[in-house]
Symmetry: C2
DNA sequence: CGCGTTTCTAACCCGTGGGTCAGAAATTGC
DNA sequence: GCAATTTCTGACCCACGGGTTAGAAACGCG
């Protein structure tokens, strides 16, 4: 009874728009470029979307919905865990009981899911960070980041209280460290095309954050690696940038 | 012999431009707004700058120069230190000799300088992160970040080699953690008007990165804080967002 | 004061790109 | 084949803002 719309039109427009947003930002992307990439005319764009911003808004909403869902999931999982195993004590932490190990595994899994979402929306995420100025979404990432900093911070405070983490560091900075790490990693993902080994990343980051960069204490102080720094430093010149020479990194 | 230019014109233009860039990004800032803020006409802008981008470029160049200078300073300081004290050994690290403590103090001081620079250029930095798309400077922050990740990573590798830091974590991720933290902190600074206690921040971040969030091991396992998590959790509802309940943060 | 010189103004030009709309094209049901 | 109807096209409109320029204003100097 009428001409049917090209079924691919809408999705291919969205795909083309995502790519255009990545390379030019939301305001920099030209609608004619987007439609041209789909072999459509400019007018066709407005059959599917009210405006460029509205299209971007849909993408942002998807990302947000994903994040919110994961947050819900996290909450449910955690109350489930504590319902089953009862609350943790400082002992659990210091002795690394299996209950504690389970909790850690759970958190790794949850964070892995977040990273997976960030991977799938890495383009939108990148645009939110550095290509959304002038739109109503320009503050969204920083709101998200701030919310996460708050959450991590609150958790840290709670854990401080029962002695399972250090108390000589402001919780806010701890939050910034965790979220900042995640943020840069997400940003780095936005330049990749092949998915990295996210499982490994999450586990490694967890270890780092929990235990820092310090080495495990030497077995008995005897027979530790004694090679001198100088030896190492003098044979390093070939590999990469020729500066950098000293103890722990900053 | 001629009409002298208003001596404040140029600086006040730069100041107004910085503010405009912050709130609308480089391409979003309107030259007429900038000049109006200085009670000048649009044409006056072009007496002082070739274009908007060129003005922004000057600011970026200043920031870059500052960073480069600090990097030079870091290199010089470090070679000086090792020249005087000789190379470090794993023993220094494990036993925290005064020589090692001195090195740490040096690094804290150097990082403090970086943070100070970031504070002074926090507006430019913020614009580089999220308001420079479409300009030739859109990649600058990520280049800077990547360079720093490389540096930290190289250092970490070097330190791994003589056993003074853990070896079970990819150096690249360590670099991302350090730089990501710095990045988010810088971003957060861009919203502040009063300078925070940068010394404290740097010290705390150093501790966190080196030692992680784990608590110092309990004196002898006896008499550790035994209050249960549940107690804590149930009296926390007043203070802030009412979710969050469990072990170490993510 | 008037001349030369540089600063500064404000009207102007114009490319760009978002958004619109009349009409062509395609498709379905009859 | 023929309406009826919806999709799609592409020329058009127009606001916006970067950049220009003619000329007015300000100043130093003789």
């Amino acid at each position: 009874m009428a001409r049917p719309a090209d079924p691919h039109a809408r999705i291919s427009l969205v795909t083309a728009a995502r790519a255009a947003f990545v390379s030019h930002g939301v305001s920099g992307a030209r609608i004619e470029d987007i439609t041209a990439a789909c072999k459509l005319s400019k007018g066709a764009f407005y059959l599917h979307f009210k405006s460029k911003e509205q299209l971007f808004g849909e993408l942002v909403a998807e990302l947000r919905a994903g994040m919110d869902a994961l947050l819900e999931h996290r909450k449910a999982t955690m109350t489930g865990f504590f319902g089953e195993h009862g609350p943790l004590t400082a002992r659990d932490v210091h002795q690394r009981t299996s209950r504690y190990e389970q909790l850690l595994a759970l958190e790794v899994a949850l964070d892995r899911e977040v990273l997976g979402l960030l991977w799938r929306y890495r383009d939108v995420f990148g645009v939110l960070v550095s290509g959304s100025q002038g739109t109503e979404y320009s503050g969204v990432v920083w709101e998200m980041a701030h919310r996460e900093v708050q959450r991590v911070q609150d958790d840290f405070e709670a854990v401080k209280a029962y002695g399972a983490c250090r108390t000589d560091v402001p919780s806010e900075l701890f939050g910034s460290m965790v979220v900042g790490t995640w943020l840069l990693v997400a940003q780095q993902m936005s330049k990749l095309t092949e998915p990295p080994d996210l499982d490994q990343w999450v586990r490694a980051l967890h270890r780092l954050i929990r235990e820092g960069s310090a080495p495990p204490k030497p077995k008995h102080g005897k027979r530790t690696v004694r090679r001198r720094l100088a030896a190492r430093l003098n044979t390093r010149s070939t590999q990469s940038r020729s500066r950098s020479r000293r103890g722990t990194a900053r």
